[in-house]
């Protein structure tokens, strides 16, 4: 080793000595709003880790797999084919005149984003035991990186939607831009649920086991394979409490019908997401303080 390698790095240690330093105070954990702001400041400092880890998720998933990135497309595509066979040939579902393939695919996009995020992020803490017990970094980065990776898949899979719309000659209108705030609401909601589940999974591993079933039920409780209009009116009020209803229905509306979203249903989803996200984050930070002891 050449001596100048170490001397170059030591030199900036000296210049650093005079720079102002950040003072950190560590106390016993408590549920508090200051945990929220303090946590966000720390998270911002570790922004590069969130980026690196998200890219890493995407890379690792497709490394040494034959079909590579096309897996992101294959999953919603194959589900779409199955549902199209079942719900337009075997049992007929009324789709307000839209071809069933594109009707279901446009809903499967946000749904797959949601379910992939959750099924991966739930294990986010537990599957990184060796890191969590040895190095400190804001732990929410682990579940968040899975959400970001799933968002990447969502973008890839959207290209197929464009193809389907060209094939079925469905044009986009400016209202399609509403997809952006809708996906933002979905991202907030999925982040909240991911934080809650991954933190709870540390103590109760049952959650990971129950996830596939839960997601299956959740999908049928959302207007993915059928339209919202098929839900009996007297059940609607209850049905709308599922934030995925407002998200999926309005996403489909903005893209396929080219009309602005129904602000009532979307508003319910947005409200739930906005309330849930900070609550889930505070809960997560409280669990994080001692997660290394019980994981």
């Amino acid at each position: 080793m050449s001596p100048d390698v170490s001397s170059s790095t030591i030199a900036d240690a000296n210049t650093r000595a005079n720079a102002p330093r950040r003072v950190t105070v560590i106390r016993a954990p408590s549920l508090s709003l200051s945990g929220l702001t303090g946590g966000l400041v720390k998270l911002a400092q570790y922004g590069d880790l969130l980026y690196t880890l998200s890219v890493h998720r995407i890379k690792v998933r497709y490394k040494q797999s034959l079909l590579g990135v096309s897996w992101a497309i294959l999953q919603p595509l194959s589900l779409m084919l199955i549902y199209t066979v079942i719900f337009s040939f075997i049992a007929r579902v009324e789709t307000d005149g839209v071809p069933y393939a594109v009707f279901s695919y446009v809903a499967l996009l946000p749904w797959t984003y949601f379910s992939t995020s959750l099924s991966n992020a739930t294990n986010g803490l537990v599957s990184h035991q060796e890191l969590v017990t040895k190095v400190y970094f804001p732990r929410e980065i682990l579940p968040l990186s899975y959400v970001i990776a799933a968002l990447f898949d969502f973008a890839i899979a959207s290209t197929v939607l464009a193809g389907l719309m060209v094939y079925y000659r469905i044009g986009l209108t400016l209202n399609a831009l509403y997809a952006v705030p809708i996906i933002l609401i979905l991202t907030m909601f999925v982040t909240a649920v991911a934080l809650f589940l991954s933190a709870t999974q540390v103590r109760f591993r049952d959650i990971g086991v129950a996830m596939p079933l839960l997601l299956q039920l959740w999908m049928f409780a959302s207007p993915v394979v059928y339209p919202l209009s098929a839900v009996p009116t007297r059940l609607r009020g209850f049905y709308l409490l599922n934030p995925m209803v407002g998200v999926i229905e309005n996403f489909r509306r903005a893209i396929l019908q080219g009309s602005p979203p129904d602000f009532k249903t979307l508003g319910v989803s947005a409200l739930i997401a906005v309330v849930l996200l900070p609550a889930a984050y505070i809960y997560f930070k409280r669990v994080e303080a001692t997660v290394a002891d019980i994981i």
């Binding site: 030591i10 950190t24 560590i26 106390r27 400092q45 040895k134 303080a289």
Partner: protein, 412 residues
């Protein structure tokens, strides 16, 4: 200037014991029972207060379970204290286990970015340091190879190299020096010395007492989660060794639930003057004394004491195996003594394993080990090299008065 301050810091763990007796068959009922059951409390760290000044190197020593690692975890925010307050002035990095967080499928380069970010480095900073990191680890040709194809040595070197380039204000070290080959270890120690000279505050937690003594300005001794001594490295280490000597012999896991025909008693050392001690001098006469209790008659037993260096590498052994003499034991207590004119071990700390077995069979009567250093060797007769070799010398010179000479050196 104080960089690190702990005020009345405590950490409690709850241990829930699962009692076999009275446990219900149904797992659900059992779960409910365990929820009702009062969990046991265990204070890993209790009311610990200390300060570390800027540029100071503090060593923390103690037995396994004394709370060393818990303190490190508290300082590095891996877990939060139950009570008390920790104030950290500056950027703190912990070098706890080298290479945690490498992903086998990713290349060396990708892992440098991943691991560096996990340790809190910005991507831009990693890019600046990339050459230096690769150079230090000596893995340039393999930079774009997945690390799963790395040798374990390369893995460890790369891990340390990334961590060594963190440039923190405060550096926490935990047993990291016990990695790599001797040359790399020396490089690591040099790097840590450089950081220290450049003003980095260091907290060093280790079993390697000689490294602690070399590196640290001050040492804390922990026992059962409490600070029992603090002061100059040599004084505290000596105090620790005097207690370590008596208390830390534990049976190997393999020996649990096994009936012992012969049981290991006390292991002790005596120096040239016949005084019992745990500090011997290289090259001076020594005695290793091993007590035992035989519960039955044994036809032919073998007694062995193994000496391991701080990095857990076997250095040498004392054994009765090669003597060729039959060693029959009658029921009762006894002692086996090994002694020699010059201790071959060089300066350092040594861990010991003790084995009593039956000759010619793989059967162990008893096997125990020291979890902390049992023996320290101080410089005695000054020698260079890897071990002390006792030898005698005689001078022969051809002079005009006496022409007969025989060049002879007696080696023993």
């Amino acid at each position: 200037m104080i960089d690190l301050k702990l005020e009345h810091v405590s950490k409690r763990y709850r241990i829930r014991r699962e009692s076999e007796a009275g446990a219900a068959r149904n797992p659900l009922v059992r779960k409910l029972q365990s929820l009702r059951q009062r969990s046991e409390e265990f204070w890993a760290v209790r009311d610990v207060s200390f300060e570390v000044g800027r540029g100071e190197a503090l060593g923390i020593i103690g037995h396994n379970g004394a709370g060393k690692s818990t303190i490190l975890k508290l300082l590095s925010s891996i877990t939060a204290p139950t009570s008390g307050e920790i104030t950290i002035n500056g950027r703190l990095s912990a070098l706890i286990e080298v290479g945690s967080g490498f992903h086998p499928e990713l290349t060396g380069r990708e892992n440098i970015y991943l691991n560096g970010s996990i340790l809190g480095m910005r991507r831009r900073r990693i890019t600046e340091k990339l050459d230096s990191i690769v150079e230090f680890a000596g893995v340039r040709q393999f930079l774009d190879t997945p690390v799963k194809r790395f040798s374990s040595g390369m893995y460890v070197r790369l891990g340390f190299s990334i961590a060594a380039h963190l440039d923190p204000d405060i550096l926490l070290l935990d047993e990291v020096l016990a990695v790599g080959d001797a040359a790399f270890q020396a490089k690591c120690l040099q790097r840590i010395g450089d950081l220290k000279r450049s003003g980095t505050t260091i907290v060093f937690i280790s079993h390697d007492l000689s490294a602690v003594e070399r590196l640290c300005d001050r040492v804390l001794l922990l026992r059962q989660g409490e600070v029992v001594a603090s002061g100059a490295p040599h004084d505290v280490i000596t105090q620790y060794q005097n207690t370590a000597f008596q208390s830390s012999q534990t049976p190997r896991a393999e020996m649990e639930n096994q009936e012992k025909l012969v049981e290991i008693g006390r292991l002790s050392f005596r120096d040239a003057g016949g005084r019992e001690t745990n500090v011997l001098r290289a090259g001076e006469p020594f005695t290793v004394s091993l007590g035992f209790t035989a519960h039955e008659r044994v036809a032919d037993a073998v007694f062995e004491v193994f000496f391991y260096s701080a990095d857990r590498e076997l250095q040498c052994q004392c054994t009765t195996e090669v003597s060729g003499r039959q060693l029959a034991l009658e029921p009762g207590a006894g002692t086996v003594e090994f002694s020699g004119p010059g201790l071959g071990l060089l300066t350092g700390v040594y861990y010991t394993d003790v084995v009593i077995k039956e000759r010619g069979t793989p059967k162990f009567f008893d096997w125990s080990q020291w979890n902390s250093a049992a023996l320290r060797v101080d410089p005695g007769r000054l020698v260079r090299g890897k071990f002390y070799m006792p030898c005698e010398w005689r001078l022969t010179q051809e002079s005009e008065a006496d022409a007969t000479a025989a060049a002879e050196t007696t080696w023993t």
